[in-house]
Amino acid sequence: MSEFWNSRPVRKIRRDKWALACLIIIICYVLVAIAVRFGIIGNAFEERIGELHLSPSMESWKHWLGTDRLGRSIFARMLYSAKIAIGVGLVSAVVGSVVGGILGAIAGYFGKRVDDFIVWLYSTVQSIPYLLLLIMLTYIAGKGIMGLYVAFIATSWVGPCRMVRGEVIKLREAEYIQSAKAMGYGDWRIIFRHVVPNTMHIVLVYFALLFVAAIKSEVIISFLGLGVQGEPSWGIMIKASQAELINGFYWQIGAATFAMFVLVLSFNIFADALQDALDPKSL
């Protein structure tokens, strides 16, 4: 473990105060999402806690950000939405980087037919514009959170796959891979023990990029009415506040915007730091 903490990239991140702060913020969001998942907080998102369009007050924590057009707590809805955001982000990032990384490694390592097939597969997915593809997939898989997961799983692997493949094509000729082959190791052992670990710098950066891309897309798809149903999400809150804004009620859009802004900003800064720390060129 100490080897991990003292490795060059980790040391670099540990020295970067901004990146650390962003990581802590991201962890806080994840904790909130877990707490919501197990019903500890944010579950009262449907409960009427008072008059409609109440201004923020200190009456109870539920009143901190006021109420929406049905008298529901905006604070509770904002917290609950973190669960949705972290959920889609996590699914997209985990599936995308694992599947994409492995497929990319296989394509790059074996080459020939296998490579042609995988390249064809991702070129096909890639040639449909991202938002269009997401919307089409949620349309086919049905509205709701499952449709969102299907859409993100089907699209997220493309980026890491393409980049890892390119890297592996270079690695394939490296001496340590050649010697592993000369020692008679099987192809799969070489792929998982020697090739994949050496593409981690790409996969990790994509993990962060996919996470933030999924969060931003979920908000847009939910806003269009194709995403989560019957639950709050930042996109749904923004949609609801569109009509409120004309009457000067800006708490709801403010809450959703702020919650999302902080998370996305933290991810953006952290992903940049990660990219710098893991860049092999800076050795």
């Binding site: 064809w120 597969l121 070129s123 096909t124 997915v125 040639s127 449909i128 514009p129 938002l131 269009l132 919307i135 089409m136 997939l137 349309y139 086919i140 898989a141 931003k216 908000v219 847009i220 806003f223 269009l224 930042w234 996109g235 923004i238 949609k239 506040s241 569109q242 804004l245 004309i246 859009i253 915007t257 999302m260 802004f261 996305v264 900003l265 953006n268 800064i269 940049d272």
Partner: protein, 311 residues
Amino acid sequence: MWPYIIRRLLWGIPIVLGVTMAVFLGLHVMKGSPSATYVGKAATQEALDQFDKKYGFDKSYPEQYINYLKEVVTFDFGDSWKNGRPVGDMISEGAGKSVSLTLPALFLTSLLAICLALVASYFRGRGTDRTIMVIAVLGMSVSFLVYIVVLQYLLAFLLPIFQIHGYEPGLVERWQFLMLPIIIQIIVGVGYDTRFYRSVFVEEIGKDHVTTAYAKGASKRRVMFVHVLKNALIPIVTRVMISIPFLVTGSLLLEQFFGIPGIGSMLLAALDTDDFPVIKALSVLISLLFIVSTILNDILYAVVDPRVRLK
């Protein structure tokens, strides 16, 4: 040169087949015939069968797929189920509106981003650079939706500078409706582009030929504009080229919001009403455009950099 071009063009065929297969699997196999939507829920089995027969859903999947491929090859996608108009006509009407929204936005965003990136990379590591990059990251972190909702509220409702919603087809009249969406698109896109172009310029500045130029006494301004900008043209052109398909798709969100009847709102409306001919036509056309622009881009690349051709 020609063998390379032909190879690239041939490569497009399996991709087009893949896209059509994906659309077909999604719509015909997984989603299935939308007869209930069109004939009505209380329809008799006979009426449902009649609908299926009329649009070929009664045939086997391979036959349905071949029919779809025929539509793709002849570019004839039939009539919209919703309003009975030929899909081709609808698309050519919508495309003009989408392009007048996206083309000025793409041009202005790229121009602004390149200027900002040149300034940032010129002053790299210093205050100006930091300020530009911090603003870019902050701007990127705000949701697209928020820009739309808030700017529409501020600039069209509170201060009635622009139109809130709607569209008029006239060549002059349309701009009063398009101005605000264009501004929003620039604000949303400029952060990403500035970051991208800055990294391109910074990489170029680090190269030996730039050092040589300085050593030979070229002024800093000359180096930036002649040596750096000129060599960075390839990534710039690539970035602009891959945006071309999005010119026609328009911006789904902006068109939806501002009531501009372009391709984007057409597609959303078609998905809402299960209008298969429109969905199929648009998804294939958009992907085709994407494929063509990637191929064109690769060819351009090969013209500029002869090493590419050999691969």
